[in-house]
Subunit: 256 residues, 2 copies
């Protein structure tokens, strides 16, 4: 069955896009059929693959408004087994345009329905907010993967995210669950990372992935080349971490 | 005259809150009367000072809804000359609650009007989005200070921010202007920071502050102690950079 996963956290800059792009690439590299959906008007996920959306081509914005089907908006990437539903900054208009529309929370879920079966994984990159775009991702998803930056402010926001996921589960999508928490930008040289990591293990136990993504400059260089870090420099610590993350995820999924 | 400044950038995690908290503290340290307004439902600016909002006390949420005056919501901090209008996660409800209210973009501007004259600087910390909360800050402000992380994705989003500021200037607040761009999390050890900095100087010239905020772990440790970095470790590179930023800002303001 297709696993649909929202990559969400309202805290900004914690590695949502980086995780969507690179986890997606690592899963595709082990022959899983992967679709990425860019649901952030910043469109960083789209440019992370060097994709320029041609004028007039449908994106996740048109799909949410019901002006295009999901299949029409999906495009291939340079990576075998990996497709993307790109977006542009126009997506920022969706929240206001859908505010009084019926079933506004189910738009993505209903649009993605016909694609189930064609992919093993669908990963949805969310904006740094808990508005209608992220809600659409949480309603469409079976699971939520939470990238958590090893910083104090990021730790603070986690309880609000958990409460929002509970609310979506109770009102819109009863199968929704946190699949896991991935520690990102872990810096061995400073105590803060360790302090945050300890705190997260204490609260979330087995939900926390063993794989920790280190702070690694090659990860932040890759987007300027329009490539996932696995293509930019497969031997760097960042790429290796995302390869391990993918295999840990596959192991966890097969145990369910 | 009171200078009202929005600290804004829709890209997440670029140092908006860190800049509001520490620039505010540095200005207060040189005897400017400063008010910080926390307009982000994450309330990181509020906890950056170790402030717990007591139940029932008004916050920026009640001020936007017109249920409390700005003066009622302002509380002192442990730092002389520095007050804050704190917030809680309830603020997340304001965007939907104000969606069809008259003058919804002017709520903060009108609320802050009676406070002008009591402060030399009012700094408004914005959430990582360009929705109604950030729009309220841009309509209330005279100037926008843009923290820009020295990373590729952060650079990409700058043109959309500029267009939004232009739109607000043309429709709601003709005095609005970009006061400056501050490079944050600059890492001397990697080329990416230099590449981004060069690009920013090329596009924005004199608007770019000479003061660059280095990546400095003491900055990210300070919030876990509920203190601005100037109080946590005044001699570290991070504190020194924010002290320089404050004096550069005072110089720029006196030249106008
Ligand atoms: N492990 C890492 N090591 C170094 N840099 C990283 C790492 N992960 C992400 N980055 C960089 O940090 C910045 C923030 O990451 P990213 O944009 O993926 O976060 P995000 O949560 O998607 O942000 P937003 O909230 O704006 O959507 C980016 O410039 C990215 O290149
Ligand atoms: N110069 C710096 N050096 C090291 N860490 C920093 C620096 N500036 C900010 N940080 C840390 O980086 C993280 C992001 O900064 P901050 O929260 O201020 O960004 P923001 O733009 O306010 O984020 P958001 O978009 O979520 O509101 C925080 O954990 C902060 O402590
Ligand atoms: Mg992102
Ligand atoms: Mg912030």
């Amino acid at each position: 069955p297709t696993r649909v996963m929202a990559i969400a956290n309202q805290k900004g800059g914690v590695g949502k896009t980086t995780t969507t792009v690179n986890l997606g690439t690592a899963l595709a590299a082990v022959h899983r059929r992967v679709l990425l959906i860019d649901l952030d008007p910043q469109a960083n996920g789209t440019t992370g693959f060097g994709i320029q959306v041609e004028p007039g081509r449908p994106t996740s914005y048109e799909v949410l408004l019901g002006e295009a089907s999901a299949a029409q908006a999906v495009v291939p990437t340079a990576i075998p087994n990996l497709s993307i539903m790109p977006t542009t900054v126009n997506l920022a208009g969706a929240e206001t345009e859908l505010v009084d529309q019926p079933l506004r929370e189910y738009r993505l879920r209903n649009a993605v329905q016909p694609l189930l079966g064609e992919y093993d994984y669908i990963l949805i990159d969310c904006p740094p907010a808990l508005g209608l775009l992220t809600i659409n991702a949480l309603v469409a998803a079976d699971k939520v993967l939470v990238p958590l930056q090893c910083e104090y402010y990021a730790l603070e926001g986690i309880s609000h995210l958990i409460r929002t996921i509970e609310r979506i589960k109770n009102n819109f999508n009863e199968r929704l669950d946190i699949q896991g928490i991935v520690l990102t930008m872990y810096d061995r040289r400073n105590n803060l990372s360790e302090m945050v990591a300890d705190e997260v293990y204490r609260h979330f136990g087995a939900k926390v992935y063993d794989t920790v993504i280190p702070r690694n400059v090659r990860i932040s260089e890759a987007p300027s080349h329009g490539k996932p870090v696995l293509l930019y420099d497969v031997n760097c610590a960042g790429s290796q971490a995302y390869i391990h993350l993918a295999s840990e995820m596959l192991r966890r999924d097969s145990e369910l």
